[in-house]
Symmetry: C2
Subunit: 199 residues, 2 copies
């Protein structure tokens, strides 16, 4: 499998996490969106939406949208619950992530990291929506180690990527103990370096 | 099954479409978000995210996120392809819809319909993103009747709801013939009243 992505992007890191966790062999192709890498005719042939990540399967067929790729690669593994309702709750988190978490937490972080805005200069409405998303995660993770059921699923993988990077956008996670514990447990399960060392 | 939604919302209509198409019995509970209906303690107990639609299954368990509900209700039916790759492409459209179509086409329409903005006063950047999403659909549907494969799937249902309502936001579909033909075919398949009569 070929993965076209940016290792600084949480959406792309999700795909790396699941490929590594499932032992799926891949070649990583680093794409620089800010240098026009997603606007080239070659890239648009893989994904007309011009968005990363994209994978190209071994038969040459492309698949885009990070959470669709997560579902595809995790199918039949322990990372998608066998129970039909639990699997639907995983889907609920995946869609919530793309609608309420990524457009707030990740966008705020991108403005600081790439556009060099200071956190205190970010749009207050954006910061409020991001904090609301982080609070929702804190609430959901209070008293449980994972978002759905009792083991790590692609719901955790989808939310982990940008939540780990949230401090880069000026978000303070220290008042969210359940979230910090969840990050540590997910890192342990996925064999990732510790959060505090990376940020 | 109980459905909590707003018949003016495309996200909620998706759930009605799939429930009707699969013959799933339901009771519809109309919720008025603008009168605080999604902020009540009872509603937040069903969906802490405070978003519609939500369904309550016959065993009392809730499920939120329109596209997660589509996947749940369509499982094992002709509305999700049996082929693994085709099913993943359906997922790709579902996530694209929530990330690139709903936040642009539906948001612009909501500002006109509910906030009484004139289409010509809408944020030009929002209108441009919405038109880009509609153009992407037109491109994808040129030469084919459905988004994935040769029959109607939940990808079509997810995109149909707000695309049908786009003219209410000031978007002119007359220059997008593939999209108009697709709307007509989907309406026929789903037994919906014709687009031109409704708008």
């Amino acid at each position: 499998m070929q993965i076209y992505g940016d290792l600084g992007s949480g959406n792309c890191l999700k795909v790396k996490y699941i490929a590594d966790a499932t032992g799926t062999p891949y070649v990583w192709h680093e794409v620089l969106a800010r240098s026009g890498g997603t606007a080239s005719p070659e890239f648009l042939a893989l994904n007309p939406a011009g968005q990363m990540p994209v994978v190209v399967l071994d038969d040459g067929r492309p698949l885009a949208q990070s959470n669709a790729i997560l579902r595809y690669l995790a199918q039949g593994t322990r990372f998608i619950p066998a129970d039909r309702y639990d699997a639907a709750k995983v889907d609920e988190w995946l869609f919530w992530e793309q609608y309420s978490h990524e457009p707030t937490v990740a966008v705020a972080r991108a403005r600081v990291v790439y556009d060099k805005q200071r956190p205190e200069d970010l749009d207050p409405a954006l910061v409020a929506r991001a904090n609301k998303a982080l609070d929702r995660l804190e609430q959901a993770l209070t008293g449980q180690n994972f978002l759905v059921g009792t083991s790590l699923t692609i719901a955790d993988i989808a939310l982990l990527a940008y939540t780990r990077q949230a401090p880069q956008g000026g978000f303070d996670l220290s008042g969210r103990p359940a979230l910090l514990r969840w990050i540590a447990v997910c890192e342990h399960e996925l064999g990732l370096p510790a959060f505090t060392a990376e940020h």
